[in-house]
Symmetry: C2
């Protein structure tokens, strides 16, 4: 293998993929087991050329790939890995730093802390908070709830019925109970229904997964402060919107949180995985996680970010965030976030203006919840028809007991034409 | 930005780095805070060229980098990210798949399951076990212990005094107690001292961090079976050795474990992060983690690997393992593992033959534990002198109350000359 030649082939593959991803069916058009059935049952005895890996990537894996980078990926929280972020992952893998203590990777440890400060500035979060990166919001939530348990000894996690499932998963892992609070008419946590008895933490969501509703954080902060309960804000998706001043209304009260998570890999153009966790109480995270064995002791007076979460080994994740923040700058991020919101507004208008369709929740950011007049089954059939066509990929939720279609925009590659094509495909599917 | 031009520059940077990494000081020669002090206090307002990122990578980050890819990185468990693995990370970031359920990335989900089967074949593990990838052994251990708690309801985790610190961290996270078993004369868990009362799990280590000792797994499996206790085997480092038949003596009894972790990013030439977790009881992992909310429900009859661990979002980690297994094959892996063991044997001989130095633990794989006659302080000073010189990077442990130097070999780039240079540096440092 020659690294330069094989690397040039890999880079060319990546470049062509990004050029043509819009032409590929968005949802993988395969049945379960189909990819595996095309792979050899046993690994090779002798080494094969890297070119064979690229060939099989095209022939075996690509037909089984759901294209998250497609401009018509509108499911879940759509996102995109930007080009600077992708290239930074090549560099991170080349360095292969493992930052479990400061001296094993000073650059990675300090760049991570610094990028969390930069991002806090971009998002308008309070200065002086402690920030580090976890792989996913699920793990950031585990870290925050473990700190909450350490800080106040409660054994209940309070959140709304629309909180992300990772909150209940994290609570279960930690041996905590989950107490779900009912919603108000706009799918926000109803603050009048909060019971904080025995609570370790309350998780408020800014941008729920179903509808991107924003829980009333200021009122919840009041309640948490009065009861000495840890306030964790899950802004995994919507937090990136705070780079735009006109969307910072959704940040009200967040400055009073004990911890906040924002996933840069969701709406900040950074490749998976890059979940940003800030806290005003780093000592509680350290109390939950720090444990330094003999073989990791050093005389360095520098903090180790592995003291703040479950994993000891830490990949150089901040490098890609650095590349994105450098190459896009505040203005570039604002332009891209605003464009996704503008496209969502346009789609919302299309649905509002079309007889036989209805909007099902207030649109706050870049996600639209809607449905066609008719049964749940008819709506589900519409979504499945569009998804199976490969033209666009959408997902669903359930609101007030009804099946609701979600169209989420988050890719920097999505254009007006892509959104129009999704809308055309939906109407065609509805027409049968 | 043009992806092809910037990509070519990034690739050239990576190629040159790998060519010259052996000439750079292995341990970063900076003080805490030095890297941060050179970074701008605020992020840029407007986007900057990617070339500026590469420039600052050289000028600001590289002096603060501890070079894990250096052939003279001998600390902790030395490892190396191979070239096929590095290029596969570029491809994974390009695809940016997020495999939280099957349909969001069939190729990633199925390749992951398939690569765990391939690796099980290479390592001689039982067929039919369920395998998936976590980021680190810390998180794999959390998953295994959560499953154990679910399976039998115990509240104690039993392990040796030399078990990795992540076991105690995981137990603490899960609200379990840790009960440490004393060691025998060769730093293995003493099976006569095991008390499994109220135990959820026993963690046996194959290749402890301090000395790479191998716990007596067959006897521990007997005890666990009799007491209905989950047996988790931590083979994070040494498990890769099982690709060589002559090292498979250390696998005895592992076929009776309930779960086993092997880190491909430790000694299988795969970039961080790639921790392989197998279990014979996948239903216990699912019971601990599965929770499917409405917005993730599908009619697909296919398993989601996020049901087996704490994180919901999952990066396409199997792609790099696939590239490594394809490009090296069984023979290529064997050649590389054997060479690191051979070099460790050579170093061991050098220490044995040199008056004034002693070996401190039996060498089982590619790690040598030794010390210079003299005080702990003198030995610590030797290590610090070598590390500060940049010539090689070693770490330490404590055995029978004494400071012990560890030299770990795991990089495919390490040669006889590199090991000799480390030995020369140690002797020079000892001579003052």
């Amino acid at each position: 293998m020659t690294f330069r030649e094989d690397g040039a082939a890999a880079l060319e593959w990546a470049a062509r993929y990004l050029e043509r991803v819009g032409e590929l069916p968005v949802l993988a058009q395969v049945e379960p087991g189909e990819v595996r059935s095309r792979l050899p049952a046993a690994p090779p005895e002798s080494g094969e050329p890297f070119a064979d890996v690229l060939r099989d990537l095209d022939e075996i894996l690509l037909p089984g790939t759901t294209h998250w980078q497609s401009p018509r990926f509108f499911a879940y929280f759509a996102n995109s890995a930007s080009e600077p972020g992708i290239l930074a992952e090549l560099l991170a893998a080349t360095l292969n730093s493992v930052a479990f203590i400061w001296r094993t990777s000073p650059a990675s440890t300090e760049l991570e802390a610094h990028m969390l400060d930069w991002t806090a500035q971009l998002l308008g979060l309070p200065s002086g908070w402690h920030g580090h990166i976890e792989d996913t919001a699920s793990v950031s939530t585990i870290a925050a709830l473990a700190a909450a348990r350490e800080a106040n000894g409660g054994h209940v996690v309070v959140c709304s019925e629309e909180a992300h499932s990772s909150v209940e998963r994290a609570a279960r892992l930690l041996g905590l109970e989950t107490r779900k609070v009912p919603l108000d008419a706009e799918f926000r946590l109803d603050p009048t229904a909060v019971d904080l008895a025995d609570a370790a933490a309350l998780v408020a969501t800014v941008g729920t997964t179903s509808t991107t509703a924003v829980d009333p954080v200021p009122l919840l902060a009041d309640a948490c402060e009065a009861a000495d309960v840890w306030l964790h804000v899950d802004a995994a998706y919507a937090g990136s919107a705070w780079v735009c001043p006109e969307l910072r209304w959704s940040q009200e009260g967040v400055e009073r949180a004990d911890s906040v998570v924002v996933n840069a890999h969701k709406w900040l153009f950074t490749p998976m995985d890059c979940s940003l966790l800030w806290t005003r109480k780093p000592e509680a995270l350290r109390a939950a996680f720090s444990l330094v064995p003999e073989y990791l002791r050093t005389s360095d007076e520098a903090e180790s970010l592995s003291d703040y979460g479950p994993a000891l080994g830490r990949r150089f994740r901040s490098l890609k965030l650095w590349a994105v923040l450098r190459c896009y700058g505040r203005e570039g991020l604002q332009v891209r976030i605003r464009e996704t919101v503008r496209l969502a507004e346009q789609f919302e208008s299309s649905v509002r203006d079309e007889p036989g369709w209805e909007l099902c929740a207030p649109r706050r950011f870049s996600v639209v919840c809607f449905r066609r007049d008719g049964s749940d089954g008819e709506n589900e059939a519409i979504v499945e028809r569009v998804n199976r066509s490969g033209e666009a990929f959408l997902s669903q939720t359930r609101l007030n007991g009804r099946y609701v279609i979600r169209l989420a925009i988050g890719s920097e590659r999505t254009t007006e034409d892509d959104v129009r094509r999704a809308w055309d495909a939906l109407r065609a599917a509805a027409a049968g």
